[in-house]
Structure formats: C-alpha cells, structure tokens
Symmetry: C2
Subunit: 457 residues, 2 copies
C-alpha cells in the first residue's frame, strides 16, 4: 500500500473543499495541502440547471476550474477516502494510506429522496440532481428526446430546471407540495409573482398535491407517469426528484465523528469538530439559522465558501474572529428577465418562529427617471423586529441588479443593522444603474417599517 | 402683500428639498409643510446628460415627479425667496410674506466657472450645465444642428454628456486638465480603462492641457474655438463648461447664516445651522469627507437625500441617531455596456492624505461559470488601512450589477468594517446574476489585502 504524507487533508472538491484548500495554502504556505476528490471533472453546482436548456446546453460548459489550486502548489488525488483513523491521523483509500496533521471534511451533500419513492429510482427515466457529471449527462441524454417532464419539488433547483426545460419546448410540470413555489425563500405575495412568471414561460404548476407513486405502467422498468395524492395521474417520460439534499456524512460517522441535527457533522463557530484537528465545512456540516438559532437545512455554495475561508485560516489556531454566528439563508434566482432574491427570514417564517415583526414594503423602479430604456419594477420587502428595528429578512424582485442588492441586505442582517440606520445610509445612484436617490426602495422600505413601528394599528 | 403661514418652510425643490419635505410630513403629520421652488418643472439632475443623446433625447423625459408630495398634503409655491428675517421667522417673496417655525435651506448648487472664462459665457454657443429646464433646452436646441462639441471638464457630468453627444455622431472633444478622466473617483489604473472605453465611443480626450481662452474669431459673438495652454486651437461650435458646481448660498448669506468652506452653509451632524430652527441640506450645505474629515466638494443627489431624511426627522428634536459622520464620495456611471463605480477614497487620495494603506485587487467575472451568456469581467479594488484593516475606499468595474455592488462597499465603509470581516461575509451567488461563490471579487480583494498586510514587501 502506497503511503502519502500531508499536513492538511481536505476530503471533497466542491466549493467548500476548494476554498478551504486555497485559504489554507494562503495562510500556511509551507504546509503540504492535499485535496482528495471523487471526480476528475467537477461541475459548478449552482449552474447545473442551465445544462438542460438553452443557457448552457451541455455539462462541458459547467466545469469548475481548479487552475488556481494547482498553481498554488496544492496537490490533488482523484478517488475515495474509505476509512479514517482519527487517533493515528491516517486516511485510507483503496490503494493508499494518507497521513495528515489536520483534516477537513468537505464531503458535501447528496440528493434527498423520500423513503416512499426511493425504490422508484431504479426505473428508467427517474432521476435526482446530483453534483456528478456522469449522472447529469445521463439525465440530459435521456431527456433530450423526451416530451413530458415532471419535476418534483419547487425549490430553486426544481424551478430553474423546469424553466430551462420549458425553453426547449417540452411539456414541463412542477409538482410542488406547497401553496406557491420557492416557499422557503419567499412570502406568498412574492412567491406568487415568481410562480406567475414561471407559468408564463410555459411551466405548469401543481401546488396543492404531492406525488405518492411513480408509475411504470407496462412493467418494462420505464416510467410513464406519476400518481398524486388526489388520485390524479400526470404523464411523465422523465421524473426529476428535486426534493432537497442531505449531508454526505457516512465516512465521518464511520470515523466516529459526532453528528448533529439532520446528520450534519457537529461543528463550532470555527468549523472545528469536537476534535480540534478535524474540521467540517460546507453541506456536510450541521448548520444553525443566524436568527432563530434553530437547525437549518440551508445548503449554499456561498455559505460553504465562507465556511471554507473560516476553516482554512483557523487550522493552526484562530487567526481571525469570525464575523457571524449561524447561517443566513440567502438566495437569488432569475425567471426570464426578472430576478428574485431573499435573505434571512421571510415574514411567514418569522411569525412561525414567534418573532414580533413589522414589514416594510416599497415598490419603485430600478432606473430613474422612469423613461430610461428597459427600466423595470423593483420591489423590496423587509422583515423588521418591532422592538429595536433590526432587519432580519429581506426579499427583492427586480432586474439583474437584484443579485447584488440582496448581498447588501445580507450584510445588513449579518451586522444586526436597524431600519433607523438604513434610513440614512449613503448610497450611489445613477440613472442607468439604480433607482432614484429620493426613492431607493431599500431605504424607502426601511422608512415604511419605521412608520409601522411608530404608528401601531 | 399676501401673508402665508406654515410650520416648516423648505426652500428648494431638488432631491434634498423634496426628501426633507416628505420626511418632515411623515414624521410630523400635523405640521404644515411648504416647499418654495424656483421652477414649475424640475429636472432629475443626474439624468441631464442623457437628454443630449439617444438615451432620453429630450428634457421632457427627464422631469421629476412631485406626485408624492402633493398626495401627502405638502404645499408648494413656485417662485423665489428673496429675503429672510431669521429673528422674526419670516421669508419674503416678491409679493408675499411667509411665516415659519422651522426653515430648511435646500437651495442646491449652480455651475462653477473659473473667473478667467466667465466673460465667455456671453458668447453664443458657450454653456454650463445648470439644473434648469429652460437653459438645458437652450443648450440642446443650439447643439442639435452643430458639429464640433468641446466639453471642458472630465468629471461624471462632462463624460456622460460627451458620450451621449458621441452617440449622435458629433465630433466631441473633452478637455480634462488631468492625466485621465474621472480622476476624483478612480485611480489611474481604472480611470484609464474608463478613458479607453470613452475613446472607443468616438470621444477625443485631451488630458494634459487646459482651456485658457474661448475664441470668437469673427467678433460676431459666436464661439468658434477654444485655445489651450499649449497654444493648440480646437474648433468648437459648442463649448460646454462642466467644471463643477458651487453651493447656492447667497440667500443664506444675506440672512446672516454662517457659511463654512467653499461657501457652503455650516451645519452640524443633524443638518442644523448655528440656529437650531434653521437647517441646511444638500449641495448648499458644507460637507466634510467621511474618512479624512477635510472639507469635501462632493455633491450627490443620493447624499442630499440622506441629509434630507436626517433633517426632516430632526426638526423638532433628534428622533434617530445619525449613522454616519461625513460624506462618502460614492458614484457610479456607465460607459457603453461597462459600469464604473467608486466609494470612499481612491488609493491616490489616501496616499495624498498621508494615510497608510494597502490595496486589495481582484478581477473575476460577473457571472459563473464563464460560459454563461454575456458574462463580463468584474474588477474590485479596495483601499484598506494597513493597521486594523478597515476598508476606506473601493472601485468596481463590471456590468450593470456594479451600481449595487458599490452600495455594498459604501455600507462597508460607512460601518468601518474591516477586510477580516468581509472575508467571511455571507452572500448569495447565482450563475445568471453574480460571480462565483468561490471567487466573489469583493471577498477576494479583501483576501488579497489581508495577504499584503501580513506579508509586507
């Protein structure tokens, strides 16, 4: 058995693993960093939906570049770690043994499928959306010649895939199991706007029903339809189960690492497991919500990257204070020419968590004056603590600028800023790029929230 | 003489005056608010350049809406206040006397022209860029049939006007008097990128020379050319002096209100003059820079709006703590399909102010992966305190998202955040809307700055 020695072993080559390795090498240039990853070619996870439509059109256009890591002198091994001896600090692959000083789990997540549907995965035409080029190519090749596509799940991945398939003039139905799409990120008023737009792009939506059976009518191991709880049958040549992801932690568990909720690896603020030589970052780690401090299922490449930066710079002692405690759910997506984004808690989530909030709401335009070509509506909704005025959530609908506006709101939430502060914040406005200085929707939504706090109904 | 009574008198109907009035009415709904403004029709100031090219094409498309104010019950008078008796709390117009309890000066700014060129304003074909529809229409009508346009000044207004005229295939020359355009907002490396793009759009640029004379060769009171310090003569049918603005404070001075630097009205943090019943907001107030605390000439509708919100809510006592002290220079503009934005100090300004800084610099893409249609380069440069790591300036070049990215950097500067905090901030990334989570340029520029702080050369 071949023996390899490194200082820092990173298991996993997705965003969390990659950023951990690069950050580790930047902070500890003399340490030997080794990344073990499963695939020679890694996909960019968030762009997988765009493989299926006109936007990218093939998985070759969705390949992550690892150039930076090799330029920096980070080593890579393709393969699978099968076992870890945490006491001896050894990792075992099929034909080699790796000794390490520090270990970072970045083993990511895998598609979650409800137990009642798991056996249907064996049928031809039934797929999940894993971060695996071979399997994504299989789904793409299979679906290219097919007509009826059923997407189960109305989260970001499900909706983005559905809209992409619709651009290829397929008959696409999303079965959501919730009153409107994207319900974890948007309140009904805004989720319904996204839903209407999706329908305009030719996607059908069945919200108030759920799949109870995936049907192989001819017993030829090929899917034909799905059966819903209502008894309705929907024709399906392809069924895509986009019903979430779960932490991939079997290796960690086998190694005796403590897990927490949803089988994520327990970590402290600095992404350390209970063994301070072993870290976990990204989707395989157990997260808590930034506001409610409850267990969080949010899985985001951006959050994973932030965790990778924290872990990679804390391996040999805490170098930088971590600026946040808990995960902010922060998302964006695009449906046609409209962008929808959300950060923190929705109003409905806040109320469910029994948080006393008011809402600030303002709709303006994303350019000024209104006569600027291609100006579109821009809407900001803020979820605000009634006492103190801290902003704990925000939703934005607008043009492409929305993707960065939500990062502004994210920082406001992360910094516990209140509406009084946002009300007078200094901004840049420009006719071709932003709304008017006098009615910048983020500021106006703060003003509206202040008004509600001060004038209780 | 007609007598009018109000509680709050606002003089000026630009962004500062408008926001002050609306904020005052929101905070003190029972008070009578009166706005006196000079023009029946107010232009949106920042969009004036777009009147001259293809973007708007006429001043009628650049009219500010005052609908909100009248809906709220704010009164308006068109005319000029000629005198103020601060002791008796009376303002005098030609044919009426207004009594007030609180007074807000929002008298704005007027074009600044160097004394050596002032007499040339009498020539036909020589113009400034005032916020006055009649005069803007005059410039537009005059220039429509003309060929050779000379713009004096290479700040935002000068450059935006020049590019707009170029879209109409005119022969446009900008005479800058500085080594590159937009020098108050961008360091040379980035300013030169903007300049190159401007040249591509057909605008000529003369940087290292300045206008010493405006020539009327035929003594017919019509401009023909400008003469430069070098002796060179540039043909000119139209000369536009875009050489900055100065506070419009003659009324305030006449009323005995104390002025400060650059003849701006002296105000405290809450926009109060030395008389606490009298406020000044917007371009007519004297500003200090947020970082250097030196006098600042920065005039922005966005800053004016923020000041209007502070004044409007502080009239009858301080209701909300002001979140910032001093003006952050924060700008955006668009040249063709590239957006350039800047906040805080440039590296050159910081060095000139004798501030010990390092620079973090990162260039990536504004979409991910690189194969996403219309992805363009995105560049972030951060100016960072070597000791402590606070971010005191940022420059961004990219697509339309740049206009909101600079607001994120603005908030970072305003909050005195450091690169250590930004390094691990939580963001949303999405293929169609932002750069990659692993290499978000703002975060990467922070990482690069940290590296420079820790590894001094």
């Amino acid at each position: 058995m071949k023996k390899i020695k490194c200082d820092v072993l990173v298991i996993g080559g997705g965003p969390a693993g990659g950023v951990s390795a690069v950050t580790a090498k930047t902070n500890y240039p003399n340490k030997e960093i080794l990344v073990v990853r499963e695939f020679e070619i890694q996909l960019v996870p968030c762009a997988i939906p765009y493989i299926f439509g006109e936007t990218l059109g093939c998985s070759e256009k969705d390949v992550a570049s690892c150039g930076m890591a090799s330029d920096m002198g980070i080593s890579t091994l393709i393969g699978e770690v099968e076992d870890i001896d945490t006491k001896e600090k050894l990792a075992y692959m099929k034909d080699c043994q790796i000794s390490f000083d520090k270990l970072i789990f970045a083993t990511g997540s895998e598609p979650f499928v409800h137990s009642s549907l798991q056996h249907s995965l064996e049928l031809d035409g039934v797929f999940t959306v894993p971060k695996n080029k071979t399997l994504i190519d299989k789904l793409k090749d299979y679906s290219d010649s097919k007509e009826n596509i059923v997407v189960v799940g109305s989260g970001f991945i499900g909706i983005e895939i559905a809209v992409e398939f619709a651009t290829k003039n397929k008959n696409v139905t999303v079965i959501g199991g919730s009153k409107h799409i994207l319900k974890n990120a948007f309140d009904s008023d805004i989720g319904l706007q996204a839903e209407e737009l999706m329908l305009k792009y030719g996607v059908k939506y069945i919200g108030d029903d759920r799949v109870v059976e995936i049907i192989d009518q001819n017993n030829d191991n090929i899917v034909n339809a799905v059966k819903l709880k209502s008894g309705n049958i929907i024709d399906a040549d392809v069924v895509i189960l986009a019903t979430g992801y779960k932490p991939n932690t079997s290796l960690a568990q086998k190694a005796g690492i403590a897990l927490a909720h949803y089988r994520g690896i327990w970590v402290d603020e600095y992404m350390r497991t209970q063994n301070h030589d072993i870290f976990a970052v990204g989707d395989c780690s157990a997260r808590r919500d930034f506001i409610t401090k409850e267990s969080s299922k949010v899985m985001l490449a951006s959050t994973s990257s932030a965790e990778g930066r924290v872990a990679g710079s804390s391996l040999y002692g805490i170098k930088y204070l971590k600026g946040f405690s808990g995960t902010i759910a922060i998302f964006s997506t695009m449906i046609g020419k409209r962008a929808f984004s959300s950060a923190g808690l929705t109003q409905e989530q806040a109320q469910k968590a029994n948080i006393d909030v008011v809402v600030g709401y303002f709709q303006g335009l994303n350019r000024h004056p209104a006569t600027i070509p291609n100006a579109q509506k821009q809407l900001v909704k803020l979820v605000v603590m009634r006492h103190g005025g801290q902003i704990i959530g925000g939703q934005v609908v607008g043009g492409e600028e929305t993707g960065e506006m939500i990062n502004l709101i994210g920082l406001i939430i992360e910094s516990h800023f209140d509406v009084y502060r946002v009300m007078s914040m200094q901004i840049a406005t420009q006719p071709m790029l932003t709304s008017a200085p006098t009615s910048y929707p983020l500021i106006m939504a703060s003003v509206m929230a202040i008004d509600k706090i001060e004038k209780p109904q």
